[in-house]
């Protein structure tokens, strides 16, 4: 069982020379949004802690979160939250062994991307 062709075999596609399929980029972005969302959670908890501390301290926290910079960070967090949420929903189907067909994945990719945008806009309309 000597492998005579050892040095001539094709290499598997390397990350640096291989254009990742959309599903992989969504997967990576799900992890990035998951880690990044801690910033949003820290801001939310800080807002509550300021509110428990004193009305004066809360006024500055409430003001900072509603400046354009604060809104921008919260808007980014909101989109990240819904993106992570939508791909999480897809993972439940994958956990059940459903939706692994390439056509289905290609379709649910757009459910994740579109869903994150639609849910972000819907949240902004509701609050």
């Amino acid at each position: 069982m000597v492998d005579v062709n050892r040095d001539n075999r094709p290499l598997s596609p390397h990350l640096q020379v291989y254009r990742l399929p959309l599903v992989s980029n969504i997967s990576i972005l799900t992890r990035i949004t998951g880690v990044g969302l801690i910033a949003g959670l820290v801001l939310v908890v800080w807002w509550f802690v300021a509110g428990a501390y004193s009305p004066e301290y809360f006024a500055s926290a409430d003001w900072l979160l509603t400046t354009w910079l604060g809104y921008l960070v919260l808007l980014g967090s909101l989109w990240a939250l819904w993106f992570h949420f939508c791909n999480g929903l897809r993972h439940f189907f994958w956990d059940m062994g459903k939706g692994f067909e390439l056509e289905t994945v290609a379709r649910t990719n757009w459910f994740v991307i579109g869903g994150s945008v639609v849910l972000t806009i819907l949240t902004l309309l509701l609050v």
């Binding site: 908890v45 802690v49 509110g51």
Partner: protein, 126 residues
């Protein structure tokens, strides 16, 4: 491995020693966060920017305070278990990995405690 019975191997529950517990908590907190995210975001978004009166009016209500406590607690739990996987994937030195893992766990629990305590105080002082 060769000297172990199948039963004792299964009892050890794999390399991490706790079987599917981590996987299961990740799913459990995910499922819990589906309704909690929706129930939390709407009143929070409406109170945001409304000053101290809006905060007290919203989180002085038992239901909104309960939702906020559950959301913060479960989100911190979900974060602590999720960031653990990221750390285990990318930090290879054992001493650094364990140190960073401990720090993120303590950070998550502290954040949860701070948020929950703050909401409780707001509820009781409203």
């Amino acid at each position: 491995m060769a000297f172990k019975t199948d039963y004792s191997r299964v009892q050890g529950m794999g390399r991490a020693g706790d079987g599917v517990h981590h996987w299961w908590i990740q799913r459990l907190t995910s499922v819990a966060l589906i309704p909690l995210t929706i129930l939390f975001l709407i009143p929070f978004g409406r109170a945001l920017g409304g000053g101290h009166e809006a905060l007290m009016a919203t989180y002085g209500q038992f239901g909104h305070a309960l939702t906020a406590i559950l959301f913060i607690g479960v989100a911190c739990w979900h974060f602590s278990i999720g960031i653990q996987v990221v750390i285990e994937d990318y930090i290879h030195g054992k001493a650094t990995r364990v140190t960073v893992l401990i720090l993120t766990k303590l950070f998550s629990y502290t954040l949860a405690a701070a948020g929950i305590l703050a909401v409780v105080k707001i509820l009781f002082s409203a």
